[in-house]
């Protein structure tokens, strides 16, 4: 039975939030304005792969607008048939996984009833809508007209019954055998954005269809979810387990969590449940705290973290990955806590998906993340250095901050969660694993996350800006590049330009200001400009909202003997004969003339082949070891340097420290002229011979492999 109330709650909540924030300005997480309260009871039928649920929802109007209609996400309908927006856009594939085509592989949700405040069932009058002009048969957004509007800052309660059939896992949610990863599984109300939120001119629902290239956006509140499963199942979920009730062959687990905007859970009889604490005393290295304190300009005690009860749900056969999951979870908690603010929740659940359900891996939900599939192939001496488990665990944990607590809109501004998190993940990984943070291989070679991000950015056509609604990108690849690595590079560029202190302080401030709220691109730049005191409009215009490219290059470099005056000149004092710039007597014997030290003129032309005006450093290195550096002004399209020196130019390089992470092509950043000597020594020629030899060797090895057929 629903209830309806017109009482205003907003001023009190805001006052409480302000009071708490004022009481502890450095506290990272002010309480959220509670927009929703969910109380859900759900029962899993593992044989039919179905859910039966009841949901009691209280929704509070955050605006001064009367709301005549509610909007709900019914995301499981994305898997209902091959004509949904999600299926049409994705072609039934996501991140390499493919949808099943057997009858039992589809998934859907039926909202059976929705009883409103006056006891009337609103379901018959509700209808599916397509707010993005998407597929007309799409049923992932349900519009529910109300008999009477929800008054400004008022609230409404609804009692909803639903039945859901889970799809076979290929995109985040569903089942494989007896493994269930249950996400986006219940009717979830959309976000009503009041005017002013994320640059909105007027209030309105922000409740998009489920697209192939988008994730989620919801409001904060309190969740109380009871999950009823056969007793053999091990269950993990968002939040804290507060009770476990046996009822014959079934068990009901009750979880509660405040200040979150979603709820996911998993069940599998085969889970190996490993509980481990995050202990700040043991798990935070002193040097990490010292580094964070130095960059943030804070005392170490201000960065104190809290203990967290963590739980790892591991698949049988993946025991080898246990310590790697635990270590990387602790790294994530330490890094994000130190640099942005302490994790405010009591629990964290890490799910290790089975090898035949990798589509459910690498996902984030509040206090609940899924890791990379820990296939035994990564447990060999040659593959152990590939830090996929660590990278994905740190990344998904990072979403507790960028998505979880800072609730940006993943549909419209995916860069604010995936991208910022990409940057944070790079920094966390390099903090723990050094310069080759992503992978190290036998033989000492390896790769770092920034280099990989740059390769992804440089290898893709530059079709879209970073900021764009997720389904508006030219291709799925363009969405991925602009949401993840390009933002990582942009943030690294910003960090290099502002300096690590200003940058990290601005980012911490952004987290503090926007925790449990819905920031947009403008809010990001406003915060960074406030803290750094710099005008960052060029970054927003060219990099985030434009497709500006930067490509400084050494266009040409040459060095020649300096030519002095030679010959007979008529000057004011009379006719003189000059030899290599020195006056000589025409009759003097050639051998008796004193030798002048050699002099060389080196001319270097550097140019920006891109269209984003941004400066760089040019460095000229001479064979005698002399080094000359000049700052190229941001406005310059090209600069020609002319240097006279007693030595030849060995090489010229622009942006030698690689501060311009946005620079598209680094191979054209330098030119080597000679063999080099002393401090200017370069061994590129030897490298070319060596790698030419290796190319030949590999080709020869290939021919010898083919001998197997001969």
């Amino acid at each position: 039975m629903g209830k309806f109330s017109g009482r205003s709650w907003m001023p009190a909540a805001l006052a409480a939030a302000a009071a708490l924030a004022a009481a502890n300005a450095s506290a990272a997480a002010p309480p959220s304005p509670r927009i929703v309260d969910y109380r859900i009871q759900v029962a899993l039928d593992p044989d039919r792969k179905t859910l039966e649920g009841t949901e009691h929802l209280v929704w509070r109007n955050p605006s001064g607008d009367p709301i005549p209609e509610l909007r709900f996400h019914t995301y499981l309908n994305a898997f209902k048939n091959n004509r949904t927006t999600f299926m049409l856009e994705s072609g039934g594939q996501l991140r390499g996984d493919e949808a099943g085509s057997d009858p039992e592989d589809w998934g859907w949700i039926d909202v059976l009833s929705m009883v409103g405040p006056d006891g009337r069932d609103l379901r018959p009058s509700s209808r599916f809508v397509q707010p993005d002009g998407n597929a007309p048969s799409d049923e992932t957004v349900l519009a529910v007209p109300l008999a009477a509007p929800v008054p400004p800052h008022g609230e409404i309660a609804l009692d909803i019954k639903f039945h859901a059939k889970l799809p076979r896992v290929f995109a985040r949610t569903g089942f494989v055998r007896d493994y269930f990863l249950v996400g986006q599984w219940f009717p979830k109300i959309g976000v009503y954005e009041p005017a002013g939120v994320r640059e909105r001119k007027s209030g309105g629902w922000n409740c998009h269809a489920f697209h192939a290239n988008s994730e989620f956006y919801a409001d904060y509140g309190n969740w109380d979810v009871s999950i009823d499963v056969p007793s053999k199942f091990v269950v993990g979920a968002t939040g804290k387990r507060v009770s476990e009730t046996k009822n014959g062959a079934r068990t009901t687990y009750r979880y509660v969590q405040d200040n979150v905007h979603d709820f996911a859970w998993t069940a599998d009889p085969r889970w190996i449940s490993i509980e481990f604490p995050f202990d700040p005393v043991k798990d935070v290295r002193p040097e990490w705290t010292a580094k964070a304190a130095e960059e943030l300009g804070m005392d170490a005690h201000e960065l104190a973290l809290k203990p967290i009860a963590c739980r790892l749900l591991l698949q049988p056969g993946h025991e080898w990955a246990r310590d790697r999951y635990i270590a990387s979870t602790k790294l994530g908690i330490a890094f994000y806590g130190l640099w942005y603010g302490a994790y405010p929740y009591e629990t964290l659940t890490v799910v290790d998906p089975p090898d035949d359900a990798t589509g459910s891996g690498g996902m984030e939900y509040p206090t609940f993340i899924t890791g990379d599939a820990a296939s035994p192939i990564f447990d060999h001496w040659f593959s152990r250095g590939i830090r996929g488990i660590e990278l994905v665990t740190v990344h998904e944990y990072g979403h507790q901050y960028w998505y979880g607590m800072v609730g940006s809109n993943e549909f419209e501004e995916s860069w604010l969660d995936e991208g910022l998190n990409d940057d944070s993940e790079h920094r966390a990984m390099s903090l723990a694993y050094g310069p080759r943070d992503t992978a190290t291989f036998p033989g000492g070679i390896g790769v770092d996350s920034i280099s990989l991000a740059h390769a992804e950015y440089a290898h893709q056509p530059n079709l879209d800006p970073i900021r764009r609604c997720a389904w508006c990108f030219a291709t799925g690849g363009s969405y991925a590049i602009n949401s993840y690595p390009k933002v990582g590079l942009f943030m690294a560029q910003l960090k290099n330009d502002l300096g690590p202190r200003r940058f990290t302080r601005a980012q911490r401030e952004y987290f503090r200001r926007w925790s449990f709220r819905h920031p947009g691109t403008k809010d990001f730049f406003d915060t960074f400009e406030d803290v750094s005191g710099r005008d960052l409009s060029t970054y927003r215009r060219n990099v985030v909202e434009g497709t500006g490219l930067l490509d400084w290059s050494v266009v040409s470099a040459k060095t020649t003997r300096a030519e002095s005056d030679d010959g007979v000149f008529d000057r004011a004092g009379g006719r003189v004969t000059l030899d290599d710039g020195r006056e000589v007597s025409p009759s003097a014997a050639k051998g008796s003339r004193p030798k002048k030290p050699k002099s060389y003129v080196s001319i270097v032309l550097v140019g920006n082949l891109g269209d984003w005006a941004h400066g760089a450093v040019a460095r000229l290195v001479f064979e005698d070891g002399a080094v000359v550096e000049r700052r190229i002004p941001a406005a310059a399209k090209w600069v020609r340097y002319r240097a006279t020196s007693g030595s030849r130019l060995a090489y010229a390089v622009v942006d030698p420290e690689r501060a311009n992470t946005w620079d598209r092509d680094r191979l054209n950043d330098s030119k080597v002229l000679g063999t080099g000597k002393g401090a200017a020594d370069t061994i590129g020629g030897r490298a070319a011979v060596k790698y030419g030899g290796w190319a030949s060797f590999l080709s020869a090895v290939w021919t010898q492999i083919l001998w197997a057929l001969a």
């Binding site: 055998r177 036998p442 090489y651 680094r666 950043d669 061994i683 060596k690 492999i705 057929l709």
Partner: protein
């Protein structure tokens, strides 16, 4: 028994004294490798030798080297594609050269020192025979492996659809598939080698009949033949892969170190070549006592039965 068992393998090791053969196979591999990789040389000159990228790469500079390698892969994609295409053709040419040289190798092994003329003459003479044997071998291999692997995967999918990925049934069936495929390859490879070696004992034998010869020669001694095959597979594999990794693990920054690196690469190519020559030596030793019986079994005899004279006609 022990002597019989080790005889062909020991004679295979003796065959390594034919260093000219090992040298020839290594040289051919190296030349084909250089030809295959040659489209990438100008790109290396432009982007590695004439920029700081080469410096970064050879020194394995943290963060700089990976970025430069990845940029190199992107910027020189056409050159890399060219090298891959050239290498594919070099590989095919390598197969043809192997088919050619096999005809000579079976002629000269175990018969004392030889000149290249003595090698190339039987090589030329046996080339078409070996080419036809190769075609038969490839067809048989394709059919056998397709049936085994395709059928195996289909059966696995049907039988173990509901079992979890870590179930023993998955692992066991996977290894059965792999070991079975390996044995299929070993069996067909032995028959193929014996069919080519048949020309040493029966210089005019045809391709089909040479496979009958091979089957007859190995009849009753399959276990032994497979053990010898595996011995050379393992020995050659260890030498080849070991040296390949040794080359990989060398930092090789200084000029002498780069030269040593090249020497190790050549040694890896030589190891594979030596294993091939040694294996041929073992097969010759294996076949010699069996060749006469095997060749006899391939002789097709047509009987013409004289008809009895019709009744009433008397012989004159």
């Amino acid at each position: 028994m022990m002597i019989d068992e080790r005889g062909p393998f020991a004679r295979g090791l003796d065959a390594l004294s034919h260093w000219k053969l090992v040298f020839l196979l290594t040289l051919v591999s190296a030349i084909l490798g250089i030809s295959g990789a040659s489209p990438i040389y100008p790109a290396l000159e432009e982007h590695v030798a004439d920029t700081l990228a080469g410096d970064h790469m050879i020194r394995n500079a943290p963060t700089l080297a990976p970025a430069d390698v990845l940029d190199f892969v992107k910027e020189t994609a056409p050159a890399i594609a060219g090298a891959r295409a050239a290498s594919r053709w070099a590989g095919l040419l390598g197969i043809a050269i192997q088919i050619f040289l096999a005809g000579g190798i079976i002629g000269v092994l175990g018969r004392g020192p030889f000149g290249f003329g003595q090698l190339f003459e039987p090589a030329r003479r046996n080339f078409w025979h070996n080419a036809k044997c190769c075609l038969i071998f490839l067809c048989a291999l394709f059919i056998a492996l397709s049936v085994w692997v395709g059928g195996g995967f289909y059966a696995r999918r049907k039988m173990f659809a509901t079992s979890p990925p870590d179930a023993a049934s998955h692992r066991v069936s996977w290894w059965v598939l792999v070991v079975g495929a390996f044995l299929i390859y070993a069996v067909l490879s032995i028959l193929y080698d014996f069919a080519r070696a048949a020309r040493r004992f029966s210089p005019t034998i045809g391709a089909w009949r040479s496979f009958r010869f091979a089957r007859a020669a190995v009849a009753g001694a399959w276990g032994r033949a497979i053990r010898i095959w595996i011995a050379w597979f393992v020995l050659g594999g260890i030498g080849w892969i070991g040296l390949l990794f040794a080359a990989w693990l060398m930092p090789a920054v200084s000029l002498p170190a780069v030269l040593v690196n090249f020497a190790v690469m050549l040694a890896a190519l030589a190891a594979r070549s030596a294993a091939r020559v040694g294996e041929w030596g073992s097969w010759i030793a294996f076949l010699e006592p069996r060749a006469r019986r095997a060749a006899a079994s391939t002789v097709r005899i047509r009987y013409t039965v004289a008809q009895a004279p019709p009744p009433g006609i008397q012989a004159l």
